[in-house]
Symmetry: C2
Subunit: 429 residues, 2 copies
Amino acid sequence: MRIGLIGTGTIGGGVVEILETKAAQYREKLGINLELACICAKSDEEVAPYKAKGYKTTTDAMTMIADPTIDVVVELAGGYEMPRKWITTALENKKHIVTANKAMLAKYGHEVFPLAEKNNCHVLFEAAVGGGIPIIRSMQEGFVGSEVEQLSCIINGTCNYILSRMGESGMSFEDALKEAQLNGFAERNPTFDIEGVDSAHKTAILSSLCSGKYVDFEKIHVTGVAKITAEDISNAKELGYKIKLLGIYRRGEDGAVDARVHPCLVPNDHLLASVDGVINAVYLHCDNLGQTLQTGAGAGRLPTASAVVADLVSLARSTDTGSRKPLPMGWFNKENAAKLVPISETSSRYYLRFTTKDSFGVLASITGIFSQNEISIESIIQKDVKDPGKVSIVVISECTKESKMLTALEAIDSLSSVSEKSQMIRFLK
Amino acid sequence: MRIGLIGTGTIGGGVVEILETKAAQYREKLGINLELACICAKSDEEVAPYKAKGYKTTTDAMTMIADPTIDVVVELAGGYEMPRKWITTALENKKHIVTANKAMLAKYGHEVFPLAEKNNCHVLFEAAVGGGIPIIRSMQEGFVGSEVEQLSCIINGTCNYILSRMGESGMSFEDALKEAQLNGFAERNPTFDIEGVDSAHKTAILSSLCSGKYVDFEKIHVTGVAKITAEDISNAKELGYKIKLLGIYRRGEDGAVDARVHPCLVPNDHLLASVDGVINAVYLHCDNLGQTLQTGAGAGRLPTASAVVADLVSLARSTDTGSRKPLPMGWFNKENAAKLVPISETSSRYYLRFTTKDSFGVLASITGIFSQNEISIESIIQKDVKDPGKVSIVVISECTKESKMLTALEAIDSLSSVSEKSQMIRFLK
């Protein structure tokens, strides 16, 4: 199998490294031949080290893609538009695809997968979600005897690192972010991660796999982690919870899909609560299988490259010896779009934190508003007053419909004695 | 794909149930046709309910296996000799195999897999290890870009339930076993589970997958859980550990294999420590991938049946549309046997508990023997004396070669002031 590789960054470099050490073993043990036929990057500088090692290199991806001797294109460049063009052209040229590009798949999967099906080509993307965790393969093959009812996942290492560090040390969000950047766990511009966009891409892909329907990542509810304060983390800890940014899928009624990304209070005895640092985890509740959890490195050079190589091996085993038919990706076809449950229609228990100017009359006003909106309160915690002009009141609600809660919060936020916008974090059940 | 099913017990019944609900979906979504062509069980009584539903049934497995219209034999009967005969005959008749029979695979895999290779047939066994956890598929495909350096697994739900309950409640081994039996988590004759034989079967299979070599389950060291006392559990808890029965694989030097099954003290902050009850878990440390953990239901009707059905779907996707070549199972070929590291050559930290008649002179004797054997002691805990004739002394050793430790323990056990055989439990790390 002749491979054309696009991208020589962190993951691309890792793929070359693994193939150099393992290709002989695959040939000997599995009888498959993974040949790195051409390496493509943006500039001569980037391809130079590979050229020096004797690889055929190019800076012109489209010419490589047109080469009839290339069997599979490995796209590890990142971004949306160029990868879309490369991949669709490669598929039209009957080449298989291996990619780690969750952003492109979440945005253009509805174009890529039908085209792949039409051309009887495979598109493998184990590395796109959860790095080294073989979750795509598990969902497409291992769990096929069961239906996913609920999925909750920690799939952004940057956010999980920040929240874990805040929990361990009591530091602020800003300080934890700085530390993450210093340690190479956050980008210099971390918006994409901390706003939850990366998690939304991955959650959309996983929700599509769960439901068998197209889930548009732009339509799922996303709240990032930037507004989580040290106080929220510490309050959660006192209650026996950790705050985690979760990607969530729930099977709704009549095949509807409840997919979303937001911080959650996870009880300490839940398996996801002990997943700390840059580790990723996918927790599933399935009808026949029951509960399963897979954890592992969510990012990083060799874990992700190793997932790409596993896809290449799968592909070679499928195509060298006849043709294992690609999986039909009806779930990524726009015509098969999921009916999404609006976040306003979902229900949760809520952690609410109000910042008020004094602590006397305001409590009566707040509880009055909850009562008017028929929201039951499980507990109220008034924290020690350090700054008399800035009193924190924490309220835990019973399970409430989100639309009701939002109405109540709007009323509370407009009280003159409430000095900051209220904080609202959902409980994971 | 026409399926012949042998065994209508818990798992077999579950497979029929899942196929009844999902076969139409597989046909529609994956374009594969899973047809339950014949159901075989030991007696007319056992097949009667299936006959009544309109299935073709038989009590004669060999005739079913000879039927040229059957494409795959699903063996869910259990035991060693009959399954061996059915499976080898089926392979000679060019039929694929799906089985959950770890005992037979551990014992006769070296016969079954070469025969399968010769006949270009698949033998799939996802359900044999870890029930609903897709660990076999992950190791054969998902982790192929990486090499396993260490594996530690909890793969016997009965033992893990007993040890978990002892830890939660302080109850004795005997009481926890009784409770497990009452709840259906232990067999009436639980020897096979509590002596670690079931774990050894599974550990041998996983170690073979890790090393690519044949690991003979009869040659790996096995210690069960029957000698773990409430006192050991409570001492471990005080030290910040849980006691778990682990299956262990370590990559040794020069390709040697260190495979074993024994109780271990697992630190509370290790992911395996929070795997309680009948849940199974496989923890891997790989060169490229780093650490991963997979947990899930290790047994039970639908989780295990769901793994069998996943194998059937894989098989149908591989064989309906050409021929995806079966994985070469060189790792299960006797000629490719692993050099096993003898347990005496391994090193651990050890938890040791001595029962002595008095607490005065004996401590000096014990520490003297350790000193003579050049064993360093990390800490000594002398428990409150309740019965003056039966004093417990707990010693934690530093990392020590097992052969040295055994020599010391033999000398200690022969002291006249030591009244019971000493307890020795290894630390994980």
